[in-house]
Subunit: 247 residues, 2 copies
């Protein structure tokens, strides 16, 4: 009998060409499916994720599911997969999924964090996991602006033009917070869902507000414009981390 397994996956996106499987490049999905195929003695196993992440984007709490006829207990599943996977992707939790669970369709909330390292010089230990901004950012300006993002809005202004997705651009953001931790600014966004590049465009715009190129009041105006050209540049992939997915 087929059983659906739910797994939490952590990955360092630095050396991946994103999550979604590609023919030639190394992807998280590709690596996971290769490991699962080995465990299933050559039988291909497809995984479903809560959503994709781009090249260079990290995850602490990506969630996937797959269907299997194998039974081996949660501990053995974790060990078997982690033994086969390279050390930049880890299964941190795996268990039998509840009836009707779907990694993508059952998502209730997602949380992303965006890490900005605000210091004159890059930090060699953080460089792959942050977006480095050498000029001074004013936290209070960002904290004022970020509040405008909370609530239900049409986020067209913060959606990449390259999106292939049809349908409305209305999403609900339950929380948008900026915290200062020493020389790091951490933006945390919790929402019902996110558009393509949405967090990185929000981050780029908040950085411009922190630097004085835009005003804190501009955030609401840009949101209302629904025009991608009003928002700032997409901030670096390295600063973004899919932190948590709630079901």
């Amino acid at each position: 009998m087929t059983q659906r397994m739910k797994a939490t996956v952590s990955y360092d996106g630095t050396h991946f060409s994103g999550f979604q499987v590609q023919e030639k490049n190394r992807t998280v999905q590709g690596e996971l499916e290769k490991a699962l195929m080995k465990i299933h003695k050559g039988q291909p196993i497809r995984i479903q994720a809560s959503g994709r992440t781009d090249a260079g984007v990290h995850a602490r709490g990506q969630v996937i599911h797959f269907d299997t006829e194998l039974r081996m207990g949660d501990y053995n599943w974790r060990k078997a997969l982690n033994t086969l996977l390279a050390d930049d992707v880890r299964i941190t939790d795996i268990t039998e999924a509840e009836e009707g669970f779907h990694a993508r369709y059952s998502v209730k909330r997602k949380q992303y964090k965006y890490f900005v390292h605000n210091a004159p010089e890059q930090d060699v230990f953080k460089r792959h996991y942050v977006h480095h901004v050498p000029y001074q950012l004013e936290t209070s300006r960002i904290q004022q602006a970020i509040k405008a993002i909370e609530g239900t809005h049409d986020f067209s202004a913060f959606c990449s033009a390259r999106t292939g997705v049809k349908g409305d651009k209305i999403r609900t953001i339950y929380g948008a917070v900026c915290e200062k931790q020493e020389d790091m600014l951490v933006f945390t966004f919790t929402g019902s869902g996110f558009l393509y590049n949405m967090v990185r465009i929000l981050a780029g715009t908040l950085i411009d507000i922190g630097n004085g190129r835009k005003e804190p009041e501009d955030m609401a105006r840009i949101l209302a414009s629904k025009d991608r050209h009003e928002a700032s540049k997409t901030a670096a992939a390295s600063g973004l981390c899919l932190w948590k997915v709630d079901y």
Copy 2:
């Protein structure tokens, strides 16, 4: 007129074959001297460091000096060097050295930190900067044992047999501390000087004590034995970081 410059250097040791220059492999000294040679229009500039670090070992506060006839101000020195260096090595501070300063001979105290990640699974974001221990370590046992290291001792038991250095093995450790920070154990050693692989052999021994393979009381006994075979295996280079050098 020649001026001596003192610089603080931070590096991610992961992709370096150690500090000291080698003919074929990428080293921190090699990269720094290459950058300095470019700034000096092809003139070779030799650097002196507070000491070497091994392949895979990191530094937050390595200190170097070099002599130059160029004058350009501290800010410009830092910018010029960091522009030429790859992003896994950074000059965090550079200034004119005081009369008689020598990066190696003027050292008063050095501080090393050793990071142990104690969790069932590796962390993809920490993997290059820690030594991962999957089985449980008892912090209190390590905290008891580490105190025996403080003071002036003959550290022969904690010196690699591969050392080429002649002379006595007596060193003074001003502080040896183990702190628990979530799933990390951080060992901090502050001393007058350290023998070859000393911190990594101390760390390996402390891990064995934390795990119950050795007893906390064994630390003093091993120290007194002056016998390298009594101590444990050299712990991984990735966990070690040269934190600070005082003059």
